[in-house]
Amino acid sequence: MEEELDISESIAERVASETLIVDVDGFEGPLDLLLMLSRSQKVDLRKISVLELAVQYLKFIEKATELRIELAADYLVMAAWLAFLKSRLLLPPDLTDPGPSGDELASYLAFQLERLEAMRDAAAKLMARDRLGKDRFVRGLTEDLRQRKTINYSANLLDLMQGYARIRTKDDFRPFVMDRDSVLTMEQALERMRGLIGFMGDWTDIASYLPDGWSEDPKKWRSATASTFAASLELAKDGKIEIWQDSIFSPIQIRKRANSD
């Protein structure tokens, strides 16, 4: 019978220890645990016996350690501090000790517990309020604030003048190569004519010496005509060709000089 009793006791103990494990998990730190323990005193937190609380806490930690429950460092630090506080509270005050008295420490702990409890109450009150999306609702059919942006463009006379000046100056600076495709240089004309002189028979209009495709575009035609004419004069000066025009504005004709070569 006695054995049975022992067994039942040990079962009760095991149940208790299991509960303890669960509880340790559920506590939000040592202060929370202390707050829970303080409730057993059933008094105003300001009148709580911190000494009794310290004893309870230390007992709890001791038991937890016995049951090899992993305790976070926080709990052990608190245990050490409470052990210190307990000794302070039990011993008569040492007036030579410059540190805080046991009562001061005790009242601070009581303050901490009271404050934590107050914050818990406040949190509960807060959560119990009529909350948005639960008790109170916002407008469902909202109207978006449309944005209409009016842009005023600004420009002053200086901008305008600078803009115009920019264009006009740009023309002046236009690189020569840009224009080259519509310009026949005299060197080019000379080279071309030198090659053709050999095939020259009778008087021929210099217009027929213009390179292919240079007679259609007026710009190109002007350039090619001018350089071809200049090249002709050059060749005539060198004695390679003869040049002849029968009247003003009539076609200019050239032919190879007989005694050249």
Partner: protein, 223 residues
């Protein structure tokens, strides 16, 4: 029928004012118009929904929001005359783009000028948007068609343009000489500038209005 009677007796219908509050809250919080059926489902039994809706609608007559019927459903909407409150107007001042300034300058100095001519002077294509912008700003407008093949449209400056730039008339535009004097132009005028100016006969046939302007501009530019 019997059910109705029983339910009515089980739940006392709320007072009509209370019913109105309920309709008000439901319409306010719903993202979409709420049908009568939907409201009936959500409200306590025994309510006189048509009356409650009617009262609420009346209550909002002349207010900033209105209770309106949308098909078979009801909704609260902003009063139509207050729509402007949902619009935030902002005014932003922006510098005109370089392309727009240059195009505007060419139109101002060479008016009337065709798009092709503008492109020739700028040396780059003029985007449709640039001219549209100037037209929108009412700084340029369409002039007469040019009497050349294709009869291209021309662009001319407007009175608003003169106004904005503080000019009495196009004659006041500073000439090349003045631009040079102001240090804006350092180079000699480009030979052939005159060609771009509307000095042909056909242009002289344009409105007399333009004639003096044009010749003045020309004069300025040739200086």
């Amino acid at each position: 029928m019997i059910d109705d009677i029983q339910e009515e007796s089980l739940f006392e219908a709320p007072a009509i004012l209370e019913q109105e509050r309920m309709v008000e809250a439901i319409l306010f919080a719903s993202a979409e118009p709420v049908s009568m059926r939907e409201m009936t489902k959500r409200m306590p039994h025994g309510v006189d929904l048509p009356l409650a809706i009617h009262n609420i609608q009346e209550r909002y007559v002349g207010r900033g929001v209105q209770v309106v019927r949308v098909g078979d459903a009801w909704a609260i909407r902003t009063a139509s005359d207050l729509g402007f409150l949902m619009l935030r107007e902002t005014v932003e001042t922006r510098k005109l783009s370089r392309a727009a300034i240059e195009t505007l300058a060419i139109i101002a100095y060479h008016q009337p000028v065709t798009r092709a001519e503008i492109e020739e002077i700028r040396g780059v294509a003029v985007s449709r948007g640039t001219i549209d912008q100037l037209l929108e700003l009412e700084w340029v407008k369409l002039g007469r068609r040019k009497q050349t093949p294709g009869r291209p449209i021309t662009f001319v400056g407007t009175d608003q343009f003169l106004d904005h730039f503080g000019l009495e008339n196009a004659r006041d535009l500073p000439g090349l000489k003045e631009l040079r004097a102001a240090g804006l132009l350092e180079n000699r005028p480009v030979p052939g500038t005159e060609e771009l100016l509307p000095s042909d006969d056909e242009d002289n046939q344009q409105e007399n209005l333009f004639e003096d302007k044009v010749s003045d501009i020309e004069e300025n530019l040739n200086n």
